[in-house]
Symmetry: C2
Subunit: 416 residues, 2 copies
Amino acid sequence: VLKINAPRLLADLEALGAIGAASEGGVSRPAMSAADLQARAWFRLRVEEAGLQFHQDGAGNTSAVLPAAEATARTLLAGSHLDTVPQGGRYDGALGVLAALEALRTVQEAGVALPVHLEAISFTDEEGALLDMLGSRAVAAQLAPADLARPRGGLEDFQAGLGRLGITPDSVLAARRDPASLLAYLELHVEQGSRLEEAGTGIGVVTSVVGIRSAWLRFEGRAAHAGTTPMDRRADALLGASAFVQRARQLVLDRFAPGVVNCGQMRVLPGAFNIVPGRVELALEYRHGSEAEMDAMEAALLGLAAEAAAAHGLVLAQTPASRARAAPMSAQVMSAVEAAADRLSLSHRRMMSFAGHDAQWLSTVAPSGMLFVPSVGGISHNPQEFTRPEDVVNGANVLLYTLLELASSQGTTTRD
Amino acid sequence: VLKINAPRLLADLEALGAIGAASEGGVSRPAMSAADLQARAWFRLRVEEAGLQFHQDGAGNTSAVLPAAEATARTLLAGSHLDTVPQGGRYDGALGVLAALEALRTVQEAGVALPVHLEAISFTDEEGALLDMLGSRAVAAQLAPADLARPRGGLEDFQAGLGRLGITPDSVLAARRDPASLLAYLELHVEQGSRLEEAGTGIGVVTSVVGIRSAWLRFEGRAAHAGTTPMDRRADALLGASAFVQRARQLVLDRFAPGVVNCGQMRVLPGAFNIVPGRVELALEYRHGSEAEMDAMEAALLGLAAEAAAAHGLVLAQTPASRARAAPMSAQVMSAVEAAADRLSLSHRRMMSFAGHDAQWLSTVAPSGMLFVPSVGGISHNPQEFTRPEDVVNGANVLLYTLLELASSQGTTTRD
């Protein structure tokens, strides 16, 4: 029975994890950084040494391609991303790309002829260091020139990053794929939560990917001397911002569970011991599986921020930073994943993804699906992120069999 | 009747205010920055062009000296500081130095022979960009080698700054003055509050300078994925820190008025939209006129921080950053200021200083006093800081007459 080459996949994961590794553990490989460029070069070498075709598109997405005999065949895509958050882990993104590459190598070595082009793809900037999910949004034609003019990482850094990849805003917009050319998209990922581990289940079959919106909230008060300005006469921007942080959590727990909210960054200006903060910029992000609930959360959170600002004599401004719609996965792909898991005698359960993934964008142009493998302790976006080797291998084998299942159903797969 | 040269003093204030001026208004002249070095060079030129002696001591304090006939005479010091907070105003510190310089020029031009050396001094880093009140603490022998090894601005930047001034930790420690050589110290400053303006009073006679303590509080939690980590399983460092910010304000209002507290800076790590904050570093500062109340505030604030940390599953650590004792001013100097104001027919009132000043350190080695002039709207540490020209001139004349009064009482001034 066909299986992926487990030692080779694990060795690849190990080698990739050393690129951008920090001395204190973990991996920092933000998109378009020096470490990201090094990971891309390493991936290209792996593709070429396997005798697969290497391709980079106008959005900097890099692929390995195992072509079908027929040049006009459709493409069956599998992948994820090679970039990481700062001080992130070794599995998030990397597993999906390397397992897809391993699946292609396995099919090639077994001499199995498929009626589709198989493509293992790594999407640019999934983690949003400069422009959230740039690569998958470009492929799905979900980027407008205005998005490229206002990247959340700042225009100057973004333009420099594109230059390092040898791409331009125009080439990014031209990276869209013709939906008719795509059979399906499949992404293997670590769960980044502990539901599978706690349930003792081997494979998670993703039903939908949560919507995610983010914004910068700016609380504007008045910088003042921290000794001579009486406490009751201050317009302290940090008081308003910190009140919002407290109340936003309670609001979401009370009214929007299982939705989640995070305040991940705060810039306090001017930022000295002896100056009352005159301005705070707060990075807000929230997620929910339903777009209607996302709209309600947005209104409630912005209302809360306006209240917190007013209560402390501050002026509130908000700048949307990113927006990803909640994305249901393809029923046909879910069934194919379940059939593959059954064939390998692995337990599985359906679940929602609380993390955003490239699959949410691909789902707008191709039947898409995701499968999860357990994360130990549910820890992710953290150097301690860990998935056991047997789960890595099981996930890659389910990915392989799902691709074979989808390829064999080639004539019948439709958008749903 | 003797008066300072008002147009000359106002022109000096104008010229100094242009050094480190930001395009959006205000002045940024942190100690040992390029702008600070430029201000020092400008001050030296003014001193030399007035035919006064220029002096820089081992702590980088710069002075103009008008010597007495007798080389063994004691020194009557007046001054303040030329550095500013980032985006600060044009009067804080600058006024006290330039008015002292103007007083020396006035005495010199009038040919008045005094039995004391008159010295106009600018102290290094009053605002604490690198080491809070470095210059006045050095003169007062209130610095230990350990303080110089742990400057709050970081050791590397501090050493580079000393290098730019041509001084060393050893020379700083050697800058102490013999108390027997000092007759008194007098400092003119803008009030940085609105009590004088609201009362319609011309001159504030300072009775004591508040104690100030500062510390970095570190809230340590666990960085985690902001989507997949359920809200109730997070150890979000920003939740604990923001709860502390809220509660610290209420604690001080309820139990320690008229004491004040400020949280002026917050560093959120790793600092991304999609990562739950794993660590927050918070800059805490608090002030009170009584050392006993300062001790009680310290215990209460640190207790509150520990509670906020524990309530959110965080570990708290604190690193003291600076500590200045509450400092009563000399009764003899206060009387001399009041006599001078009376002589100039200016209204005056006694008041506490809620800002720290170099005078608090000088008070440990010489009878010290301060006089305040009104600040419009009480705004300070802010580009909008403003003191009306007539108040500038009145303050400088009271400074001049207070110096003459103290010099004439030379034989009788004692430590009190």
